[in-house]
């Protein structure tokens, strides 16, 4: 392949011009999301259908098909965008392809039924910025995902990619780069919120050679996938940030730690690295600056705790991925006891933006202490699930109602869980809180890596706490006593409460245990593990009391504490539930009121779902 090696910033600019010259901006092309979410919904079939349809019509050379990364609206996949008009088609099935090609690509008409329809007003939205889900976002990081084929570096370069590297390497000293990042007050997006600039400076000044830089893509929070979307959809933005970080800290070796469960991220990143090497953006003497740097991918063997810095580095060294008992920061003694700078995927992706547009621009977004944007994965009982990128300081209400479209099935909002298993549940009364690192910490929750789980009125908060504690029982490495023993005991107590065996004093014991776990655990997993329990006790104490004292589950979730019964006035005696009951617990005759025998009932809920007259009730 006759690829030009980029030997100077000028070469990069020339290459960009050459790419732009050969692409016709008015040429029709179709962007199809090939992210993991859409692939699961059948994007591969849609892509094949498009290719076949175009071939059939002899349009292969007229229309370009681009397989892009995830634009975030996973709820409505497969997403197909037709350019240059930018028509957004949602929930496209292979069967719709023929119509899209015929109407939109050939006749330049819009297929109305595939557009976004507002669930309330029934209005249709055509381009991205009219869809409410996108309208209220600020998509600095994931906005480019739909415009880029992650397997083609030229797409990224055409959009101004690697400009920041050129600028940093040719115009700035490493110290200036660090100063710029510090001035931008970029805080770690992985959860801790530690200022990245200060971390870089520590690594730079720490004694020892070589130094390392690492991308942490060991994302494991239940329901969180923003790092995956970036790594799959726009790997070059992360690599670009990493090169700048390596230059600033004086490192020549980088690693990208991706979990094995993200095969597409591994594949796209491998291709991206290979292409960056071919173009001379990685390797020796990058852009003629004399700076050498290369990156390896390391596939994590899949433990949640490996996302912790010292555990990640143990894993990279080939040992068991468990946190190390050390009080020296990994930025001073990390990988192989050398200074190592570890940042999250999203933190790295922010770096090129700051270098390109300046710290002043970056600090103009966000709140006093938290700058820039943050990607959240909005999931749970909300209408529009998916990835949302918002400026810091936006309220939870705006995210859930304006972007998320409110709670699903018109149910009542109950709580939102932020920060994954280490975060906490925020109740409705605090939903107007601004989202920033410190505000969420004050409420007993945390930003975490950006998981956001919306819960409706049918959620039992004790059950939620138990879910997260059980998750952590499975994921704790088991090394230190408070985390291993404490979490198991916590799970035992919560199970008892859910099964109606709760005792007076259980809440106090949970609180006492939580304090000790927070104080004494070895790593952040154990130190933050009690957060779901503490916040649910704090904000939903009445539910705990109902479970323990009255042996009732107000949300009707805890099976042991509920009872199905048939309301006599509503029952028509249709025999439907009687026939459906797997336990034979329902007795009755035709057109006479049926009765559920509680002692036989296994509480499977089939009768509740079967009854067409809402006569089966829960108490």
């Amino acid at each position: 392949m006759n690829r030009i090696k980029i030997k100077s910033p000028l070469d990069l600019e020339k290459l960009r011009q050459a790419i732009l010259a050969k692409t016709d901006s008015q040429k029709t092309h179709v962007a199809i999301c090939a992210g993991t979410g859409c692939l699961a919904l059948g994007a591969r079939e849609v892509i094949t259908a498009f290719k076949e349809e175009l071939k059939k019509r002899g349009l292969e050379n007229e229309v370009e098909i681009r397989e892009t990364g995830c634009p975030g609206f996973c709820e409505k996949g497969t997403i197909v965008v037709s350019y240059p008009e930018g028509i957004y088609y949602l929930q496209v099935q292979p069967g719709d392809v023929q119509e899209i090609v015929e109407k939109t690509l050939v006749e330049k008409e819009i297929v109305e039924r595939l557009l976004y329809t507002d669930p309330v007003t029934n209005e249709k939205a055509i381009p991205e910025d009219e869809i409410p889900f996108y309208k209220h976002q600020m998509r600095l990081l994931i906005g480019n995902n739909i415009k880029i084929d992650p397997k083609n570096i030229e797409d990224y370069i055409a959009l101004g990619g690697y400009n920041a590297v050129a600028k940093a390497l040719s115009e700035m000293t490493p110290v200036e780069v660090i100063e710029e990042i510090k001035r931008a007050n970029l805080r770690g997006r992985g959860g801790g919120g530690f200022p990245a600039g200060r971390k870089w400076e520590t690594t730079r000044n720490a004694p020892g050679e070589p130094k390392y830089v690492i991308v942490n893509c060991d994302e494991g929070d239940p329901g969180a996938f923003m790092d995956r979307a970036l790594m799959e959809g726009n790997p070059h933005s992360v690599i670009e940030g990493l090169i700048i970080g390596a230059y600033a800290t004086g490192s020549h070796d980088g690693f990208i730690y991706v979990r094995e469960e993200y095969p597409l991220a591994v594949e796209n990143t491998s291709i991206a690295l290979e292409q960056a090497r071919e173009y001379g953006l990685l390797g020796r003497d990058i852009m003629g600056s004399g700076f050498d740097f290369d990156v390896k991918i390391f596939r994590g063997a899949g433990a949640f705790v490996s996302g912790e810095s010292s555990a990640l580095m143990s894993s990279l060294e080939g040992k068991v991925g468990a946190p190390q008992p050390k009080y020296t920061h990994t930025s001073i003694k990390g990988l192989w006891n050398k200074p190592t700078n570890l940042n999250n995927v999203e933190t790295w992706a922010n770096v090129p933006l700051i270098i390109n547009k300046g710290a002043d621009w970056f600090t103009s977004i966000g709140t006093e202490e938290s700058k820039g944007t943050k990607i959240f994965s909005l999931v749970g009982n909300v209408n529009n699930t998916g990835l949302v990128e918002v400026p810091m300081g936006i309220t939870l209400r705006e995210i859930i109602y304006n972007i998320g479209g409110g709670v699903r099935d018109n149910k009542k909002f109950k709580a939102v869980q932020t920060g994954g298993p280490s975060g906490g549940c925020i109740p409705e009364s605090l939903i107007d809180t601004a989202v920033d690192f410190d505000e969420l910490t004050k409420l007993g929750s945390m930003m975490g890596s950006g998981g956001m789980i919306v819960m409706d009125e049918d959620t039992c908060m004790v059950d939620v706490a138990k879910y997260f504690v059980d998750f952590l029982v499975d994921e704790s490495c088991g090394r230190c006593v408070p985390c291993r023993e404490g979490l198991e005991r916590m799970s035992e107590i919560l199970s008892d409460i859910c099964e109606g065996k709760g005792k007076e004093g259980d809440i106090e014991l949970l609180e006492e245990l939580s304090e000790v776990m927070k104080d004494t655990s070895l790593c952040a997993l154990g130190r933050t593990a009690p957060n779901p329990v503490l916040t649910t006790i704090h904000y939903f104490k009445d539910e705990y009391d109902a479970h323990i004292k009255e042996k009732k589950c107000p949300a009707h979730v805890c099976k042991v504490l509920i009872e199905y019964y048939i309301a006599g006035e509503k029952c028509t005696g249709c025999l439907a539930c009687l026939k459906a009951c797997p336990e034979g617990a329902i007795t009755g005759e035709k057109e006479k009121v049926h009765v559920i025998a509680t002692e036989k009932c296994s509480k499977c809920g089939i009768c509740y779902e079967t009854c067409k007259f809402d006569a089966v009730l829960i108490r």
Binding site: P325, D474, S476, C477, G478, C480, P482, E492, D519, T520
Partner: protein
Amino acid sequence: MKKMTINGIVAQVEDYWTVLEACRFYGIDIPTLCHHEGLSPGGICRLCIVEIGKGKRAKLVTSCNYPVEDGLVVRTHSERVIRARKMLVELLLARCPGSKTLQDLAAKMGVQRVRFKVKNENCILCGLCVRMCAEQMDAKAISFAGHGINRRVTPPFDIKSDVCRNCGACMYICPVCQLRCQGPEPPNVVCGACMNVEPVCLQDNEDVMCYLDTCGWCFKVKPSSLKKSGYGKEKIEEG
């Protein structure tokens, strides 16, 4: 030499010491289960925690692996430390009630009840045997396997290791399984038959001399302070 403050006393300590070594040099008793002078620090049992820093920034760290530094302010027996240690002993006791070491520790620290379900395990997973085998015997015949609640000490693949020389060092160093508690089997797990000392209390005066051993000063002068925290409750009620 470095200068630090331990319980209000200005201490001169060697540069390479850990906080635990410094405290022990000054005669302060800090309980440990996973620590041994000849082995690398484990940081597992967390019993050696001490409180450092002041005010809002005060935090608990394990002294066995915390390096000494100039100006460090350490409190070895503050209320927060004692509360955490008692909970840790309670958790360990619920796991291995048959260990005399743990029963003695519970008695010494005034742990009078275990509020968790009893498991009757033999091992507290302190890892002393694993480190002994690897670091002193140079064998690495045993190691940890499994994670979380399934963590256990075992030779690789659960079959007797070829490198094991039957030296017995792992048994020698075990703090828990050798000594069995021969006392009564009480309903609340805590044996208490060997209970012989009053618990320390420093909630009113963080710099008092109790750290040397239990002195009883606070018990004599201010029984109310004991009552508040629940230490030695029964004694007070009796008296």
